[in-house]
């Protein structure tokens, strides 16, 4: 279980997150909703160690992570597919993906997961030898998701995974996310398409200006009139 207790953090002098507390149950799909600039990306970056925690604590399966470095956090089982992808542009798609398995590089599961990823995004099979930087925007997004999966995580953080993807692929990706989750991997997701994401989630949080303003079962959020007005366009 991932627990954030009263976490605050930010850039420069100003805080962006103000005492955020959330939990993500193992194996569950947790979705974070919020308007542009509400702090979703910042929250994810804080969990994966890309940003320093200024106050509060983070605990994952009994381990204190709020002081840990990103590489230790990946090793602990949390993979982060970041906003902006951060691929290795000059390396081939295959190398990008294989570097994803770096924390467990000698594991026998690597080939298995690699095959699964290519199954999920068949186009990457064709592009395996191309530099990642020459792929189309959407294809790069697929590589980023695939790379995160390659670390065989127990919790996968996806920051707007469908950004830039064609509608049909969005559908597929959300389907895959649900599938990944059904396979027992916990997922922490932020997604533009609130309705579709709530539909596959167990639990949801609503973030506004760096504070959690709502937390509930996903199905209940779907029915919540406030949420409907703000995020579901109803």
């Amino acid at each position: 279980m991932l627990t954030l207790d009263n976490v605050s953090t930010g850039y420069d002098a100003t805080n962006v997150l103000h005492g955020v507390s959330i939990t993500a149950q193992p194996g569950e799909l947790t979705v974070v909703l919020g308007a542009n600039g509400s702090g979703k990306t910042t929250l994810f970056k804080t969990i994966s160690g890309l940003m320093r925690v200024r106050a509060g604590s983070i605990d994952y399966e009994g381990r204190q992570l709020h002081r840990a470095r990103p590489n230790a956090i990946v090793k602990a089982g949390i993979a982060h597919c970041p906003e902006g992808r951060h691929l290795f542009g000059k390396m081939s798609v295959e190398k990008n993906l294989r570097l994803g398995s770096y924390p467990h590089r000698n594991s026998s599961r690597t080939e298995e997961i690699y095959a699964e990823v290519l199954d999920m995004f068949p186009i990457l099979k064709e592009k395996a030898k191309q530099p990642a930087g020459s792929l189309s925007g959407g294809q790069q997004q697929m590589v980023a998701i695939g790379r995160a999966l390659m670390s065989d995580p127990s919790l996968l953080i996806l920051d707007e995974p469908s950004m830039g993807l064609a509608p049909i692929i969005v559908e597929q990706v959300l389907e895959s996310v649900a599938q990944i989750n059904r396979n027992g991997i916990g997922v922490l997701l932020s997604e533009q398409n609130a309705k579709a994401s709530l539909a596959i989630a167990h639990k949801g949080y609503v973030l506004a200006e760096g504070r959690i303003v709502l937390a509930d079962e996903a199905s209940r959020l779907l029915d919540n009139p406030e949420v409907q007005a703000a995020y579901l366009g109803l």
Partner: protein
């Protein structure tokens, strides 16, 4: 905001006035005058570096070479060919411009690290030519008795104070040019290239052409600095074109602040005096100076002017953006249809 209220401009003007007054205090101290005057010659070359590196973002490591071409142009023409200083000066500046332009033509085909090392090689070739082409440059024997500028019977440039003001005047032109460029669309053009060549391309900037001009201009400043240097010191050797000069210039600009108006001047003066200050430690001064250089780069990465300017900018920006927001909200009917969009999540709910 009127320029007169801008703390950066006030600061720059204060520095310049202070510098302009130094002869009052030090006219009798040849040593101090010499160090300052030589430092100003370097500062002129550093203003050149500021254009290509500070504004345009291209790490040009040939600047020491261009400085050397300017110096040797003046040195050789006034001695071996008996030209007047002014004619020699103009000729060598034009010469540097031509050589700079041609070098730029080749060098700018490369990018990033390749550009840096390419220009380093050019600088080094210039140095090797100067130090080996005995029949023309006298190689290591150097050029002796470089002529003083002719004062036309009005000014005697043999006086260190007169020489100081000559270099000072040229320096002023460089500072003002830098200021003018920075404020104009020319400066904006170069800055876009520094940030992203692709994006600059996308908004219609003539990237290649602009880089080319910036490179040539930077070489010209190098030549001007070198030409003055030759007459100030009277004797020049190949060391005036060496790669060490380039790294010295880089140090000056980095310590002063890249892409700023006052940075090159402040950096040149401060580092020059720092080096003189530590002279007493002789060979061991670099045990202290080395780490100081490293520390400056680490702790004031944007240089002294960048560091101070950062505060000013931030304060200004904060005040101005607050102002902007206030006025925007006061105006109840923003211009166009779509402009009424609330970008603020608050308003949307």
């Amino acid at each position: 905001m009127s320029p007169m209220k801008n703390p950066r401009i006030i600061g720059t003007i204060a520095v310049i006035i202070l510098l302009g007054l130094t002869p009052l205090a030090f006219a009798q101290e040849n040593y101090t005058m010499r160090v300052i005057t030589v430092g100003m010659c370097a500062a002129i070359a550093v203003y050149g570096l500021n254009i290509i590196l500070g504004f345009t973002g291209q790490l040009n490591l040939a600047q020491g070479g261009f400085f050397g071409i300017g110096a040797y142009g003046v040195g050789l023409l006034t001695t071996d060919y008996d030209w007047s200083f002014w004619a020699a000066f103009v000729a060598s500046v034009i010469g540097t411009a031509v050589i700079g332009y041609l070098c730029g033509l080749l060098a700018l085909r490369t990018k990033d690290e390749y550009f840096a090392i390419f220009t380093m090689a050019i600088g080094f070739i210039i140095f090797l030519v100067i130090s080996r082409w005995e029949s023309v440059t006298h190689a290591h024997s150097g050029v002796n008795n470089v002529r003083f500028p002719e004062g036309g019977g009005i000014i005697d440039f043999e006086s260190p104070v007169a020489m100081f003001y000559l270099v000072f005047a040229v320096l002023l032109v460089c500072v003002y040019t830098t200021y003018a460029i920075r404020r104009s669309s020319v400066g904006r053009t170069l800055l876009t290239i520094r940030t992203s060549e692709d994006l600059a391309d996308a908004i219609g900037v003539r990237v290649g052409f602009s880089k080319q001009l910036a490179f040539a201009a930077s070489a010209v400043f190098g030549g001007v600095g070198g030409g003055l240097y030759a007459t100030v010191v009277g004797f020049i050797g190949p060391d005036s074109a060496s790669i060490d000069k380039t790294f010295e210039f880089l140090m000056f600009i980095l310590v002063g602040g890249m892409g700023t108006v006052a940075g090159p001047l402040l950096g040149s003066m401060i580092v020059t005096f720092l080096f003189e200050l530590f002279q007493d430690f002789q060979a061991y001064r670099f045990i202290v100076l080395g780490p100081i250089i490293v520390a400056l780069v680490i702790f004031a990465p944007r240089g002294i002017v960048g560091y101070l300017g950062g505060f000013v900018d931030k304060r200004n920006r904060r005040r101005r953006s607050a102002e902007a927001r206030r006025s925007e909200h006061d105006e109840s009917a923003p211009s166009d249809s779509a402009a009424a969009v609330g970008t603020n999540s608050e308003e949307k709910k």
